[in-house]
Amino acid sequence: MTVILGQMFTGVSIGAVLLLIALGLSLTFGQMNVINMAHGEFIMAGAYTTYVLQKSLSGAGISLIVALPVAFLVSGALGALLEWLLIRRLYLRPLDTLLVTWGVSLMLQQLARDMFGAPNVQTRAPDLLTGNITVIGGDDPLTFANSRLFILGLAIAAVVALSLTLRLTPLGRRIRAVVQNRDLAEVSGISTSRVDRTAFFIGSGLAGVAGVALTLVGPIGPTMGTNVIIDAFLVIVVGGIGQLKGSVIVAFVLGVLQSVLEYSTTVSVAKVLVLVAIVAFLQWRPQGLYTLRTRSLV
């Protein structure tokens, strides 16, 4: 029993990491229709920000708390810069944004290699997050890692913050207006180009936050983004483009599925089976779990 619960918790924590990564993508891919392959490198930027801060600040706890907003700003600024330099020229060609941003991601990876060296680096987790919480004691104990719980909390906080921003603030209203009908939003006096850039800033900033979270569970390296980005894209595709609640549900379902399959088979077979499950799911719902209903033929 505790084994199953333990696997479930592992799955949920994988899901939380996926969700944190997918959250920013949900803005840039879902809302702006830009397939940003450099999103993984914005995650990397957030992770290296944590690393740099920890080198200059004493105390792992303080540096982690400082790293969250700083990583948000660093990655967000990178994203806004990318939008301004390249992506605004490509809004009508989503597939080309994929390859262009892939080029950007290659350069950012090499930049990281030149700045920090090719080998992975590690940060120290704060003492508070290194231990475990025992949920069920006794001979067959069930323990949850504190760092994983922290990531879960961070993911939930990020989802709440993002959905409140989209629902309640004037900026959120403008973003939703641009997503639903760009032309109508423009003639209503909304500066769509400014909204695009702000949305990109927030989406990329969330990637930075995800990067900070990833430092707690794994090493920091130039290719860390590539390893996670595909899974995050799959979350968006299955959840439905631009649908926050879809991303939330699918991230946790895929996380649990991955962890259960890994437990019963091997890591590599689990990856293949998850992909098969996704393709099968898309047979049932080609547009993802939730869709924005339109009368469009395409």
């Binding site: 009508l92 080309d96 994929l98 390859l99 950007v104 590539t226 595909i230 077979v269 990856k271 992909l275």
Partner: protein
């Protein structure tokens, strides 16, 4: 517009009366609709001359071996030109099909190298397998293995494509799924260390159907086979592009719904392009193995799969000549630059993606058309609209 009228206009595309769709397609791709026999034939003859006579004469054995490797990439690019440039199907998983062809060939060659009754060397090394795994056994048969190099990738593409296109999963969804396939395949190969060689892949291949690959003469033979195969694939793709099917493929790319309303099933049209492209990539992978002597997950994962696309994009995704020359050029640039400055190559490669796709979506091949249009505009005084190539929503 009735069907009969459509057929007549399609036949007379060389004259000024063309269907709007065909005219748009021509404008987008810069390829003439008519079957202009003399120029392609001359180009083909020139390419054959360079590949079969000039290159073996002027290049050292080492450089010729490298060229053979580039030509394999170019074979994949022919398929990419068809699927992406013509059909708008951005497939980021061509590495999977390249790998399937490559592994099918390498498995046969490893079994042949080991000799009857023996296990391939890497299996003996790990000592886990006492006999050949069941799924290796059919590859001992050379006919099966050769057929599998092309048919296996085509079958995988047919299954995935049928599922994906039938339910109208397209555009970005398709690109991401094909990329996920590449990731999953590479991870699976790495996971099956004992039977696939894991991260190392299948290495140190010595013989090729009874010929010793260490002999430079036989290496040349492999080069000639690859060059002939490339020319064959180009001819095949050209026939397809200029057939009724080719026009349909471009029509599906530009307006899938209109094609559906005309009574065709766009899913089947896309499926054919995807499957053919997969077969081409499989053949390329199969011939890559004797040319280089290795196939490994590092050659077929996400990164190499995207690298296969960039050559076609730089040269011009919609133009066969552009895609092939682009693939060869980028592969050559990679060797030339990464030999000297490994770091610089990555920056350069990133820049190539950005410049080629953000600022020159038609690739280098479109420069010819742009220059020509500028010239005619000056004389005729009519503006030429600039449109992106090969984009579907």
């Amino acid at each position: 517009m009735t069907t009969s009228r459509r057929t007549t206009t399609r036949r007379s595309t060389s004259r000024s009366t063309t269907t709007p769709l065909a005219a748009k397609a021509r404008q987008l791709t810069g390829v003439k609709g008519r079957f202009d026999g003399a120029r392609p034939a001359a180009g083909f003859a020139a390419a054959a001359l360079v590949l079969f006579a000039v290159a073996p004469l002027v290049l050292s054995d080492f450089r010729l071996g490298l060229l053979a490797k580039y030509l394999c990439t170019a074979m994949v690019a022919v398929g990419i030109c068809l699927a992406w440039g013509r059909g708008g199907l951005l497939t980021l998983g061509q590495g999977v099909f390249f790998g399937l062809g490559g592994y099918a060939m390498a498995m046969h060659l490893k079994i042949a190298d080991a000799g009857p009754g023996n296990l391939p060397d890497f299996m003996q090394l790990y000592g886990t397998a006492t006999e050949l795994p069941w799924w290796w056994r059919p590859f001992a048969n050379p006919v099966f293995a050769l057929a599998a190099t092309v048919l296996l990738p085509m079958a995988v593409a047919a299954v995935l494509g049928a599922f994906v296109f039938r339910r109208r999963v397209k555009g970005a969804y398709f690109a991401i799924l094909s990329q996920a396939l590449a990731a999953a395949f590479a991870i699976w190969l790495i996971g099956q260390q004992a039977t696939t060689g894991g991260t190392n892949g299948l290495t140190d291949i010595q013989g090729f159907f009874g010929y010793d690959l260490n002999d430079p003469v036989n290496q040349r033979m492999v080069y000639f086979i690859i060059a002939a195969a490339l020319l064959l694939l180009i001819a095949l793709a050209r026939q397809l592009i200029h057939s009724r099917y080719g026009e349909l493929l471009v029509a599906v790319r530009d307006s899938e719904e209109r094609v559906r309303f005309l009574g065709y099933n766009p899913a089947n049209v896309k499926l054919v392009a995807y499957v053919v492209a997969a077969g081409m990539a499989g053949l390329a992978g199969a011939l890559f193995v004797p040319a280089v002597g290795i196939i490994s997950p590092a050659l077929i994962g996400i990164v190499p799969s995207i690298e296969l696309v960039i050559g076609a994009a730089v040269g011009g995704r919609a133009s066969l000549v552009g895609a092939v020359l682009g693939a060869i050029g980028v592969a050559w640039a990679k060797t030339a630059l990464s030999e000297e400055f490994p770091a610089a190559w990555t920056y350069f490669q990133g820049l190539l993606f950005i410049v080629a796709l953000a600022f020159l979506p038609g690739g280098l091949a479109s420069l010819v058309g742009i220059v020509r249009r500028r010239a005619t505009r000056r004389t005729a005084g009519e503006p030429a609209p600039a449109l992106p190539v090969g984009e579907t929503a």
